[in-house]
Symmetry: C2
Subunit: 350 residues, 2 copies
Amino acid sequence: MNITVLAGGIGGARFVRGLRHLVNPTNGSTSTQGSPTDSKITDSNITVIGNTGDDIWIHGLRVCPDLDTVMYTLGDGIDPERGWGRREETFHAKAELEAYGVEPTWFGLGDRDIGTHLVRTTSLNSGYRLSEVTRALCERWQPGVNLIPMTDDRAETHVVVDDPDNPGQQIALHFQEWWIRYRATLPAHRFVIVGIEDATPAPGVLDAIAEADVIVLPPSNPIVSIGTILAVQGVEQALRETSAPVVGVSPIISGAPVRGMADACLQANGIETSAAAVAMNYGARSSGGILDGWLVDESDVESVATIEGAGIACRAVPLLMSDVERTASMARACLDLAQHIRRARIDQTS
Amino acid sequence: MNITVLAGGIGGARFVRGLRHLVNPTNGSTSTQGSPTDSKITDSNITVIGNTGDDIWIHGLRVCPDLDTVMYTLGDGIDPERGWGRREETFHAKAELEAYGVEPTWFGLGDRDIGTHLVRTTSLNSGYRLSEVTRALCERWQPGVNLIPMTDDRAETHVVVDDPDNPGQQIALHFQEWWIRYRATLPAHRFVIVGIEDATPAPGVLDAIAEADVIVLPPSNPIVSIGTILAVQGVEQALRETSAPVVGVSPIISGAPVRGMADACLQANGIETSAAAVAMNYGARSSGGILDGWLVDESDVESVATIEGAGIACRAVPLLMSDVERTASMARACLDLAQHIRRARIDQTS
């Protein structure tokens, strides 16, 4: 089975780790107690299309936070507490940059992480494409999935806010500045992905959507992670056209983001912070959207009928990613829902 | 008094620290027991013309080992044991580059050091000249001297050796590879400074030589440190023409380099590893060379007559740089010898 996942950072990475555990219980996990699997699932190939809208050139280095979070999480190099960056990380170069008075100082540039950025930056400057560089970096990390950036082109998310220094004026901050420096507390008027008009999908992206048996939207940020991937030329259309069921996992539980500040992003786009509203925003494929199925948390069980009423198959299951086993169960629920959708289609057409 | 020093790395940096202590005993030293000084000396400005022939672009970073050694040593950021790089340094980014299998792996790229290299590299890539960037970096370190790179142009020393992998063939290694990776054990046929033909002195270099009251060659490597500075267009001629006495300190004591592998460099140029041979190689100004005076170690006292016979005023003094006080005494001996040379000239002309 070919499983394609559109992923942002921490939420997407943790989901894929659970999915990989389901597909191959011995990979990247010390547990031998796998979820029950069938041979179709254990034969699966996982392709992850990673968001690069959060990418930033900083101190001359090209940093790809979401790709690296996926790579480090699946390669067991992630800091398990923070959820981003390397384990046993130090921040000595960052302290030096501050001592020199060089801005920006708010970005968490770790020393081990810099090793990755140096390899990436020199490779990009030598003419390699980001997708090639990502593949090369993954040679080391062996993530057990095929990780592809959404695009090889530069397309960086900016956030239009009231200028904190000039009342009455608006400015566009780089997403990272808004997210990290301001902790998303400056109300966002809108998101602008600079360069997205010219961003074409990286090699393999459209094929991974067209040739998938199931497509999963993990509990990543629907606006600045998955929304950004969808904004790349042809991606949303490919999702509408693929024969694979498209199943998503709600990043909102009981009206709040599981982690991160997705509510600030939803508000900017006028979307309620609820599992149902996010599903409705993606929309049912039957009515021009991209979703066939949607998983909500058990605590949001009352929204299932609304979502199904909009033409999106919906299940309420525990959406905890507190450990790999529980996450694998979530992934299993995705695949089960996809299977249900596939069967329902066959029933319809027969 | 204007004192101009042509410096390489560790030896030059330590000498200048002693010289600065002589000029300003409270700067950068916890000792209050200064050497006896007169007001002429304590009013001195020190200009250091730094060797950049050892510079290397590595992993996309521009590294200036000699400039940084001077800057860190005078700014109290140096690792006192190694004599190069930052104190309390870590090498996590370097370990990552190795884990990715990215060459070269032999260069000691420290994490704190990378902070400096990132500032320098982004500034250079933004169009600033190395001399401007060096001044900006020194804003932080406050070395108490005016540190100028010999040139803003790229001119990197290479070493022609027998190719260890292809018998019968010669290859040119970057100086750093020869020095660090091979510990200068591959016999050098010759040194080639790639780009030196087009390297012009950085702003301030020729003025610092022309307007000096004394010029000091510290115990830096005579071939690949001071020799490289001399190879920059116009520098050697400026030294021949300046009215200031040019006084050097032997880097060779009792037939061996005080530290480093200067002997391997001298051999390549057919120069004996002795205090006298190095002085003769610089040559007396009276016979077309650049030296007016030369300090040898007490243990080399028997060479004083030979050197003086060649027209170079010579003294035998303790050439220990084991601490700042002793180094200040060496620097004092340089200034005393310069004063002696100046007086002898006046006696000659009157």
